[in-house]
Structures are given as structure tokens and as C-alpha cells.
Amino acid sequence: MTVQLARTALEAVGDVADGSTVMIGGFGPAGQPVELIEALLEQGAGDLVVVSNNAGNGEDALARLILERRVRKIVCSFPRQVDSWHFDAAYRAGEIELELVPQGNLAERIRAAGAGLGGFFTPTGFGTPLAEGKETRLVDGVPMVLESPIRADVALVKALRADGVGNLVYRKTARNFGPVMATAARRTVVQVHEVVPTGSIDPETVVTPGIYVDAVVPIDSVTTLAGVQPGARGVAS
């Protein structure tokens, strides 16, 4: 499929149906696709299942999605943060479902979906409340838990640079969940600092091959490079 080069985040995000599962990259501020989440907020889809390492900070777009009760369930390793008040309130009110997943299992389960695997055995979580009800077995004497793949309808990812066929490179620890989420969604939407001509990313250094990317939108460099949320909600191309 040809990569869509969008002019705005809203155009890149496109139609997201109610009830969709949406993966959102980022670990804290690093790698958070801020403008794409803002666009999802604006776009209006509800009854969402969100797969994301965190559950929103302060008044950011993910937090506001939760505040507006647009998120039915979140699959997440670390929802509780000093400023996750909107998630905390929704959770305490029983108005959001939480599937708490160890961070390594979260990454590996997303990778498994992208790689076409039906599940894997891991020692992580064995004997803990997070493995309750899951199948376990001894593998070479080590107790392990069966974990299942996590796939999505849409993945929202932030990268540093894309070329014309959607090849991506990332920047420092902002790489985090982007590369695995891009493989596990039916549609992967990426905001990048810049789009460069095809052929100008060294094929040896591509992190996400373009086959995993459906839409790309260039977003203001200061935001992307500094990871700082802009004052304005508008999106520049």
C-alpha cells in the first residue's frame, strides 16, 4: 500500500470507528505522538480500547480522552503517575477498565501480534496477581505464564524522520514503543519531524520499514525534537 502523506494530524488519523483499539506510542513525554492524540480527541471516536504505557498526564490529550469517557478500557503498564488525576478518577469511579500488563510483556505481546505469533511463554509475572487465571507451565524447570498477542486497529506513533515510502528512524529514547506498535496495527499513523526524499535514509539504518506505515504527517520540529507540548492545539505541516 502506498503511504499517505497527510497535511494535518487530523487528516492523517482519518476515520477511527467507535470501539476501535488504538495503540499510542511513547514512554512519558518521549515519543508521545501529541498532535495525533489531539487529532483523535478532535476526531470524536469513543468506546475506545487504548494500548499505551501510561494513562495520560495532567491535561494532555490522552488524559482528556479519559476525562471525556471516550476510553472504555486501557491496556497499560504504568497508569498511576503524580498527575494522572483524570485516569485515577475514572478508575476509582469504575468508569474505565484497566488491564495492567508488565512493561516487558506489553512490548513482547505487541511484537507477537505483529510477528503473527499466537502467544508465548514467559517467566515474567509468574506467581503474581497479574498472572492470575492465566495458563502456566514449567519450561526446563522454570515456571512460565502464557501471554497472548495484543493487536490494534490503529497505531499512533511518533518518529524523527520518514521518507516517501514510509521508512522511519527515531530519536534517542523516544523510539520506545513505536517500532513494535507499527507492526501490530491494521493502520499505522506516524507524526514525524520531517519527511525526506526516498533514498535519503540509509537502508542499513531504517528502524521501521515502510511496509508498516500507512500515513505520515510532518509536525513542527520544535515540538517533535523537544517533546514539549505546544500551547496551540493547531497543527502545522
Binding site: F27, G28, P29, A30, G31, S77, F78, P79, R80, Q81, S84, F87, D88, Y91, R92, L98, L100, V101, P102, Q103, G104, N105, L106, A107, E108, I110, R111, T122, P123, T124, G125, F126, G127, T128, P129, L130, P143, Y170, R171, K172, T173, A174, R175, N176, F177, G178, P179, V180, V207, L225, A226, G227, V228
Partner: protein
């Protein structure tokens, strides 16, 4: 063997300060090791690793070769550690995505992981992610992966809670992070080996004490303690 790196009063009559405890943990980490330091108290260990030790720090959000906190004007929001604190990269660093980063951790490639803890059992069970309080918002992060993934997982903590309750127990009462995964506890009052070993005692063996006798430690914890093989 690493005694010369411990401040002199560490082995005298008083419990260790946080800095002394961090130095004590650092002294046991072999030169050339790959190390992951958990969020909280364990991050202090970084300040006590000798510059020429060749020790490489891993942060599970995707960096091997992590350096110290930058000057305020050099902070990069896209270069952070697992505690979301700004860090730096050292020469020889590498970046990777979350699945690769946790494969590195979970596959037994990290030599030592230093973890904080709420409770540890004498058999090496760890509880460090949930206070178990009803209504609390849970969060686990990489704790369960770190606990079981490294070649060796050790805990760094105060040995008693603020209320004076022992954090080393026969059985953890809080929700577990991992089963039988901790091999040593470094605390302000004592260094104690836990987990599989000679069991003519409650399964824990004292390596060193600070400001308490072996007997006082046993009384404080309500446990019979062995002596670590020397």
C-alpha cells in the same frame, strides 16, 4: 574484598546512610558488568561506580550506555531513563525499541539488577509494586520483568518500614512482583543473602551487619538467620 571502597564508619557501630548503602552496593558490582538500577533508592548507586570500572548502565526504556543527569540547559525530553528523569548517553551507547530492550533484560543478559522493595521473603520472593491498599491505583511498569530477567537481582532498601516493621519476612504479605528472584538484600542495617542456600535456619544468611549484632538482627526481624559462606 571490596572493603576499601566502603567508608570506614560503615563497618563500625552505626547503620549506613543512603550514600554509604549505595557505595556498599556499588562495591559488589564487578568491573565490566552490565547493570540496571531500579527507580528510587537504587539510582543512587550510579554515583558510586568508579569511572574506570567499565560498568555499563541499561535503562529499560531503550538505552544501553546511560550517563548521568545533564546540566539543566542540556536537558533533552527525548533522552530519559525509566524514571522519566533526563539522562545522557555515553560513548558506545546504543538505542533500541521496547521489545528489544526487554529481550535484553528478560533474556538474562544484564549482569545485575538493583531493585527497591516493600518486602522480601527469606526464599527470595519480592514485593515492590503494590502496597495492596484497597482502592489504590495499581501500576507495575517494568518491575516484574526486571525482577526475574537479570542474571542476578538484588534489593536495596531500609530493613524496617517507617513504622519499624521488618521488610524481610518468612513470607511476603503484599502482592508479589516475582517468586524466588532476589539473591541478596543490601540494607542500612545488614547485608543478607536470601533464596536457595543452606537451610539450617530460616533461609536467610547474614553477610554483614552495621550497628547491630547478629542476635539483635534476628530479634529485630523475628527470624533465625544463618551466616553467609565466607
Amino acid at each position: 574484598m571490596s572493603a576499601e571502597t566502603i567508608p570506614a564508619d560503615a563497618r563500625s557501630g552505626s547503620p549506613l546512610s543512603k550514600a554509604q548503602l549505595a557505595a556498599r552496593v556499588a562495591a559488589d558490582i564487578r568491573p565490566g558488568s552490565y547493570v540496571n538500577l531500579g527507580i528510587g533508592l537504587p539510582t543512587l548507586v550510579a554515583d558510586h561506580l568508579p569511572e574506570d570500572s567499565g560498568i555499563t548502565l541499561h535503562t529499560e526504556n531503550g538505552l544501553l550506555g546511560m550517563g548521568p543527569t545533564p546540566e539543566p540547559d542540556a536537558v533533552d525530553p527525548e533522552l530519559i531513563n525509566a524514571g522519566k528523569v533526563p539522562v545522557t548517553e555515553l560513548a558506545g551507547a546504543s538505542y533500541f525499541h521496547q521489545a528489544d530492550s526487554f529481550a535484553m533484560m528478560r533474556g538474562g543478559h544484564i549482569d545485575v539488577c538493583v531493585l527497591g522493595a516493600f518486602q522480601v521473603s527469606t526464599s527470595g520472593d519480592l514485593a515492590n509494586w503494590s502496597t495492596g491498599k484497597p482502592g489504590a491505583v495499581p501500576a507495575v511498569g517494568g518491575a516484574m520483568d526486571l525482577a526475574v530477567g537479570a542474571k542476578r537481582s538484588v534489593v536495596m532498601m531500609t530493613l524496617l518500614t517507617k513504622d519499624g516493621q521488618p521488610k524481610l519476612l518468612r513470607e511476603c504479605t503484599l502482592p508479589l512482583t516475582g517468586v524466588g528472584c532476589v539473591s541478596r538484600i543490601y540494607s542500612d542495617i545488614a547485608v543478607i543473602d536470601v533464596g536457595p542456600g543452606r537451610r539450617d535456619d530460616d533461609g536467610a544468611r547474614v553477610v554483614e551487619t552495621y550497628g547491630v549484632t547478629h542476635g539483635e538482627l534476628e530479634e529485630m526481624l523475628g527470624l533465625r538467620l544463618g551466616f553467609a559462606a565466607g
